[in-house]
């Protein structure tokens, strides 16, 4: 599982690398774009995801002790928090859609505070925003699917204190997705906020 996670680090790493290059090229546009994002929703989602990591860790702990009912309970809590995160993401995405900030033919840049910034450069920021958060959200949707599968496995009595590897490695995957967001949040939402 760690081998998979290491390649996932480099998969997201490629996105972070592209981000770093363009952020250094177009720092003003990235600052302007970042100011369009809502710290409240981003911060709330960070807390929700950290909470879901806690419930996942507790699910693994119950698996180690073979407490089947508690495993299912914590997995359901993790799924609920995962959906809360995706719900907030939906709210944020639809705001961007209505504000014409989704890169494409309807993209329009007319923030009066940042009219000196080229719209095309802000478009690059939002391309990174949607691809990076979109790939992250896709990982979360897959994670929710894995947890539903785990619940079925626990229900079929295939998990006990001697064999809980599926729960353990799914936990590793979920925590990794949490770590990606820990870096995404400051890098996307908090650029140049002190200006």
């Amino acid at each position: 599982m760690w081998a998979f996670i290491v390649q996932e680090i480099l998969f997201f790493g490629g996105l972070f690398c592209g981000y770093t290059v363009y952020r250094n090229l177009y720092i003003d546009a990235f600052t302007a774009g970042s100011h369009q994002l809502d710290i409240f929703w981003g911060g709330l989602n960070t807390a929700v995801l950290i909470g879901s990591s806690l419930t996942m860790a507790l699910a693994v702990r119950c698996a180690q002790k073979g407490e089947r009912n508690s495993i299912v309970g914590w997995l359901i809590a993790t799924i609920v928090l995962g959906f809360a995160f995706l719900g907030v993401k939906y709210i944020e995405y639809s705001h961007k859609w209505h504000d014409n900030l989704v890169p494409g033919s309807s993209f329009a840049w007319n923030d009066p505070a940042y009219l000196n910034v080229a719209g095309g450069q802000v478009k690059i920021f939002f391309s990174f925003y949607f691809v990076m958060t979109g790939m992250h959200a896709l990982h979360m949707i897959i994670g929710v699917g894995i947890m539903l599968w785990l619940i079925a496995k626990v229900r079929r009595n295939q998990i006990n204190e001697h064999y809980f590897t599926p729960v353990e490695i799914s936990g590793l995957y979920w925590h990794f997705v949490d770590i990606v967001w820990i870096f995404l949040f400051p890098l996307l939402y908090l650029i140049g906020r002190h200006h």
């Binding site: 290059v21 990591s53 908090l190």
Partner: protein, 105 residues
């Protein structure tokens, strides 16, 4: 991985609290002008938070050293990729392109 080390509940809740506090600090410090240090400070806090998740939630602290080596290698290779890419972009334009005869003829 399967050494059956059961981490006390208290540790999980302490790490959870530390991660939340780290998030609040990240947001608060983003509004303070630290000059060029704003991004490095944000990244250091994120690294500390990620380390807490890796060591405690992902049990690397309680696992075989090989697991820790794997985790470290992943991030180390990421740093190589970022460093190599940025040294290229930063040094472009430092110098006039060298004359290469077969390209200019």
């Amino acid at each position: 991985m399967s050494d059956h080390h059961i981490v006390p509940l208290k540790i999980y809740f302490l790490i959870f609290a530390a991660l939340l506090i780290g998030t609040v600090i990240t947001v608060a410090i983003a509004f303070v002008d630290l000059g060029f240090l704003n991004t490095p400070v944000a990244l250091i806090i994120a690294l500390v938070k990620a380390s807490l998740v890796i060591l405690y939630f992902m049990h690397v602290k309680y696992s075989h050293k090989l697991v820790g080596l794997f985790a470290f290698a992943g991030f180390f290779w990421l740093i190589i990729m970022l460093a190599m890419t940025m040294q290229d972009y930063y040094t472009r334009g430092w110098q006039e392109p060298l004359p290469i005869p077969f390209l200019t003829q």
